[in-house]
Amino acid sequence: MDPHKNLNILCEEGKQMDITKLTVHELQEKLKAKELTITEITKAYADNIEKYEKDVQAFITPLGNEAVKKAEEIQEKVENGEINTPLAGIPIGIKDNICTKGVRTTCASKMLENFISPYNATVVEKLEEQNLINLGKLNMDEFAMGASTEYSYFQKTRNPWNLNTVPGGSSGGSAAAVASNMVPWALGSDTGGSIRQPASFCGIVGLKPTYGLVSRYGLVAFASSLDQIGPITKDVEDAAILLNIITGHDERDTTSVNKEKVDYTKALKNDVKGLKIGIPKQYFGEGINPEVKEKLEEAIEKYKELGATVEECSLDIADYALATYYIIACAEASSNLGRFDGIRYGYRTENFSNLKDIYRNSRSEGFGSEVKRRIILGTYVLSSGYYDAYYKKAQQVRTLVKREFDKAFDKYDVLLTPTSPSVAFEIGTRSNNPLEMYLADICTVSVNIAGLPGISVPCGVDSKGMPIGMQLIGNRFSEETLINAAYTYEQEVKFREKYSPEFKKF
């Protein structure tokens, strides 16, 4: 049997077309025109998982077979008229810290290796209401703590653009799966850059929504005041479509905001004339790879050509923000991860004689080294004697960061920065130096600290062909402005038409 039989179908021009290279909005059109069926689409992705997963290792729990069965059911229901949601039958990948009823949710940790959530996260309920199909749970850094997906208990995911490099993190499995066409799109979570940085490393689009726009109910908490779920997609239009599905007030998350629903696809306008873009000069200083800088400068020129007003500005918070981020995120993590005690769920040690032993030994054996490091750091900055010097100070810096952004947004509609100071780095080069790993987040963390939305869009490749990402930052709830700005750039640059990963090692 020809394994590519399901992958390739004839398109109008008579050329071979690969279904899995299409975006979701393209798939939707083909479904509407009856050029494709729901089952064909899901099968094509299931085949790609068979083909690429051994090299990329993006999934913790792949669900190709289950997804194909589900696709057949949905196909039938659509034909009977029982289902008429516009995205019915489109598959999706889900980061493994988002709870899915009946399918294990591991957070890439030994602690939750066999955990099966008794309920669905709100975002998963929303996907199911739209009759999307879960293609699998995706790899990540353990409990979302990391920037390379190397801290997963299970496996190291590889970047399809160069299999010797990391896909970024913590949503590295989600980004690598989208980039290698094993899923058409995916959900990730972003606490300090965990959607945007892997999207940048993998040459795709990642959107971190404003804090409170998307319910966190059922997202395993890392740092509750920073975490947010968002789309990882092939293009900006897909990001807008997925954002439409997952936003909305949820009374089960008290930090979710009660706002009228917006149709983000209406912001897909190819026009940035008059848009005011600020370029914070501190994000282009030393420490930024020269090739990254060069591509960003080209992007800035492109915006000027497209009629935007571009101006250099000052946002002198990057270093403070990174330190503040690690203090706050670790403090919140040390508290949030206190719940893992080996009693009600999760790993339990075999070595105990009393309750205290269960707690200590289960946690010591169940958590990986980075998670323990952050719990220790978080406990330290919250402990008496150091609270004022670190935690309290960091909370004040948080106010400072917000104010500096407020000032910038008085003048500009969006801010433009690199998503990461570098392209994807080689596996193993940073995992033993935590501070160096933390520096990978320098361009992204301040967005989480201030609760702002940010999007990463590919803006070119370096001399080795590795993708470079541009970050656009907007004011709170200005996702429409971000989508408009990113979309216009994308239509002009057409990154996807020029570059694609080749699963090589170099």
Partner: protein, 95 residues
């Protein structure tokens, strides 16, 4: 700021974590490194600024104090490392 061996052992105890002998030095080194970097917050111009406790403006969210029963006991208990009948099983607490 210098973190001592005693201090890190105390913090590990507060965190309910055991550190193996060979781990202590590595964690000490890393904690030291990160704290040296984090010290930059002490230089931030934050005189007189309030603390921000979350990304949203601070407000309380009230709801009626109503019991909502989670029906699927079986799904809850299937994750228990040890259970007996409808209960989580733990070692004896009162000796």
């Amino acid at each position: 700021m210098q973190v001592s061996r005693e201090e890190i052992l105390h913090i590990a105890k507060l965190s309910n974590l055991n550190l193996k002998e060979e781990e202590i030095d590595t964690y000490l080194l890393h904690l030291q490194d990160i704290l040296n970097f984090a010290n930059i917050v002490s230089k931030a111009p934050v005189e007189g600024l309030d603390e921000t406790i979350g990304a949203n403006d601070n407000y309380n969210v009230f709801r009626k104090d109503e019991v909502k029963v989670f029906e699927d006991n079986e799904a809850l208990l299937q994750n228990a490392p040890e259970k007996e009948r409808n209960m989580f099983k733990i070692p004896k607490v009162i000796q």
